[in-house]
Symmetry: C2
Amino acid sequence: MGTGSVLWGVLAPMASRCRSVPAPICRRANPPWSLTILVVTLLSGVAQTIAAANCDQWGRCELKLTGPATGNPFVDVKLTAEFTQADQRITAAGFYDGDGVYRVRFSPPTVGEWSYVTSSNAKQLDGQRGSITAAPPTGDNHGPVRVARQFHFAYADGTPFKPLGTTCYAWTSQPDELQERTLETLAAAPFNKVRMCVFPKRYTWNENEPPSYALEGTPPDQWEFDRFNPEFFRQLERRIDQLAGLGIQADLILLHPYDKGHWGFDRMPAEADDRYLRYVVSRLAAFRNVWWSLANEYDFMKEKEESDWDRMIRVVTDADPYGRLTSIHNGFQIYNHTNPRLTHASIQNGSAAEDPGRAVLYRDAYRKPILLDEIKYEGDIPKRWGNLSAEEMTHRCWNTIIAGCYPTHGECYLADDDILWWAKGGVLKGQSPARLAFLKQVLDNAPAAGIDPIDKWQHPRIAGQPGAYYLVYLGKQSPEEWYFVLPKHGLEDGMRFRVDVLDAWNMTVTPIDGEFVVKQQTPYLFADENERTVPLPSRPYQCVRIERVEKSE
Amino acid sequence: MGTGSVLWGVLAPMASRCRSVPAPICRRANPPWSLTILVVTLLSGVAQTIAAANCDQWGRCELKLTGPATGNPFVDVKLTAEFTQADQRITAAGFYDGDGVYRVRFSPPTVGEWSYVTSSNAKQLDGQRGSITAAPPTGDNHGPVRVARQFHFAYADGTPFKPLGTTCYAWTSQPDELQERTLETLAAAPFNKVRMCVFPKRYTWNENEPPSYALEGTPPDQWEFDRFNPEFFRQLERRIDQLAGLGIQADLILLHPYDKGHWGFDRMPAEADDRYLRYVVSRLAAFRNVWWSLANEYDFMKEKEESDWDRMIRVVTDADPYGRLTSIHNGFQIYNHTNPRLTHASIQNGSAAEDPGRAVLYRDAYRKPILLDEIKYEGDIPKRWGNLSAEEMTHRCWNTIIAGCYPTHGECYLADDDILWWAKGGVLKGQSPARLAFLKQVLDNAPAAGIDPIDKWQHPRIAGQPGAYYLVYLGKQSPEEWYFVLPKHGLEDGMRFRVDVLDAWNMTVTPIDGEFVVKQQTPYLFADENERTVPLPSRPYQCVRIERVEKSE
């Protein structure tokens, strides 16, 4: 029985408007998303309001209401909307967006009509009813990314998603022009996930203040922990939508230790942390490309206990009606990723990526997708985590893939302007991204089921899908040939395979003439029936790709 | 208000009676423990019985009662005794031992007087009261082994316990003479833990029936799941006491899949499993050298779900009033060792022991002691898990130690008599046990705090205690020298160290002349101030041992 005004908007990331236009041009040509609202229905001052709008499945609709602007609406006003369709029921929290405006965002998980009703302790916002109709998704809208086949990911429509991320912690805290440059770089890069922070970063090479702050207050350290800055969030949301337009998942780091009390966002009281987390989730959960990362290097935030993190994981996952991907990233002490609220393990450990026989162990321990979200950085800084060669970064990404896990790239080359990709974005200077584009192509052409270890504790460098597809990654070895031999799983005498040699560094694909026909050789192994070997160029970073041939070609 | 008879016995493993006698002779000379009962008080047919006995702290006392012998006492009769001292309260289940005899065993965790009272649904057994006085421990009685310093173990009196186990799955299911031979072998071997099954084993090279069975019934597969065979358990208990006399922990495997329905002990109904587990715990929990291993290769028991194991872990740990060490061992799927009822991780994974940089990852995941309880076997059988060279077995044990974990040895050499150590015991034929004795000596001389990684993800081959003690294990590399360089942790300029070169295979200790004096060289590393190197013999399996010298010698 509300008396507020209701505005339904359908919010679409750029990309769905510019599918056929080259991405960077499209991106620059687009207005901010706040202008893309396709106004549908406006009802105001009626006892019973019914709003209707059309909105794609997995898209984003927004219910706009006018309510109290006095007192502290961030704290005083509770607002939720319940969306129902048959036996589905989604309760989304609304949020105060300043100037007396309240919004509830909704991302319909299924097509068809959804009814809603609002609940609020503010009379104006309470009891608003209506319905919207979700249309089938179009274009690049495959839905949000979910865990699939235990160790992998897929979009909600089933399309495989194989994460190959990069790291730009504080790119949205930089001057606008630099943010634009970062987006241009990303548009041309192979990465489909970005690890990025909500809060700004204070660290070596990171001493600038951000353009705006998530909280109301006076920089650097006088904050009203119970009042948020809607303009800050609108800018952040614009960037997340732009990432969606580029097909990039925003792995949003909610808290981090790179503050050390300069702003104090790393040491807010528990109540403030929880309020902040709920506010972020109420604004962003309906964005289908958002992943929650509770923290970067959570254990380096010395003001918090592990039980605080358990609590905050609950706060976020309880508040999120869509079950977005959720993780937490470690410094020195890996979190207990068996926590069922964590959808995947986000692990910092460079050494795990040095050997596929190491990374693979995490799959057994956590039984969920493993993202090695920090394997050190390509670069030349004196910190020991920041001076991998491009070859080593590439090699580590391959090792991680061969282990049935997923790697995240990072780069920190010293720069006169202190713009290091790892923190601020800008341009990529390293030589690994081109190689990772090659790796991504290999992954895109691999089976939808993904890359799994074939015989996990016996042959750590052989991965793929048993009987169908294999990658045999030889890493730093430089042999002249590889004796064609595979673990028995899925093989039968007479199966035929074609072979390519992939050069992970030089980015070449060399087909090997003729087919390989397997024959059991030992209780555990199959070889080519004529004991053929695969010739190799005596260089490191070679990978033998083996694909089943159903019928002789 | 019982009317039964109460007999207090003090049960001591052999060793405490023969401390100064060479163990094997002593062992052979001793009568079975059932004869070692030192009868103390016998009260019978009184309304209120008070029994008193003396019994060492961490030793074992036994309350003997006479009760119902008709019906099915294993199921019909419930019996517990509550032992109290100040605010300590221990409730121990009693058990039916046949012929109308019931027993309650108690191992006092502290010295001094303990009162007890029995509870039973059988009038004769109910309300028996009395007290015993626990004397201070003597001789080799250091108490049960507990987790210490998160990743390590110590006896209850604080003495470090560094597990170096071996595997004789079915040694107590062999003819008596062979069991005796196994004990002789163990008396001369370096192992301080044995992995051993309650149930017999059916497998290649294991086709003999055991001398007796845990359940009443008709072999091979007609069993009364609700009636146990006390004589079987008395024999098992005798062997466990004999192990205690040799200073060996009995890592008792309660269930296993090497049956495949021949006896059917691998597929008992849940109720029978639980009853069996409670009976075993009621008999054995008071043995201070017993560890519970819920299963070997739990996931190979296809009749059980993972939830069954969760339940059975609860059954065992709820029944055990002493909190004995508890684990569960995997085949292909590692159990979730973060379960707080599991005191340590018991892991089968040979590949983890191939590289200290692999094994170390388990410490992060499980945050408790890691026992690599199957790293493949020294031997020559055609199974791929059973033909490691002695060098490789030795190397894997060293890798595991350097990773801050603990290895378990195993051996299976083909034999005309089908007596392979791994399953039946007998004699050791391999060459690794001598090397493991050398490794054990190194461990015994290492700091009480144990061997931990120094800089876990950076220098996997360097372990010890920061600033005090280091083992730098070079594995299969055969360098001429090792450049003396250590991670910064615990180091300050001017600290002095002495160095030995340990040859893990040839079992030699070569002291290096002169001291090494450290000086910070990089932000992360200290080297010798004169950049000295440690000369090495260009052979594999060398370990540089570095010990702090407090004052120049």
